[in-house]
Symmetry: C2
Subunit: 98 residues, 2 copies
């Protein structure tokens, strides 16, 4: 799995309006109604991470979740990160915004 170029990443990000690229990772911040809603989404994401064998750096404060995705072995962003971002968006982004 090789590191994507900045150009490739920015092209791909056109399909991921909640995500942005900086510091060799893609990042998103999601806000929920409550801590319970936020942690429920985290639980659903956790299962996807295990299924894809790819894991985020993520921080939660009450109803806000910050997620950063990068591929350690490639020292940057790879298709694995976009695959996980897609799974995360499917969980957290309301269907009418999808």
């Amino acid at each position: 799995m090789s590191k994507l170029s900045k150009e490739d990443i920015e092209k791909k990000l056109l399909r991921f309006p909640d995500w942005e690229y900086f510091d060799e990772a893609i990042h998103a911040e999601f806000e929920f109604e409550s801590f319970k809603d936020c942690f429920s989404a985290m639980s659903r994401i956790a299962f996807e991470c295990e299924a894809l064998n790819h894991h985020p750096e993520w921080t939660n404060v009450y109803n806000v979740l910050n997620i950063s995705l990068s591929t350690h072995e490639a020292d940057g962003v790879t298709n694995k990160d976009f695959k996980l971002a897609e799974a995360i968006d499917a969980i957290v982004v309301p269907e009418d915004e999808d």
Copy 2:
């Protein structure tokens, strides 16, 4: 719920060897066998947070969990933080280290 003094916090921390005080919060880092073990602990902690109506700032990367506790309304550390730290220790610290 009023902010505890540095002296009070450091005295209390004697009973919390995994935690340290800096930047107006108490912090701990826990390492688990796997992401699954780590996220399982986070799920159990999430229920305690709801029960205590007090929530951490916490970051997970694979099998490592960093937790910071402070009380926003008090702009520092209060007994609420120590109550949650106690609940967290009961979940994550193996009994023989307790």
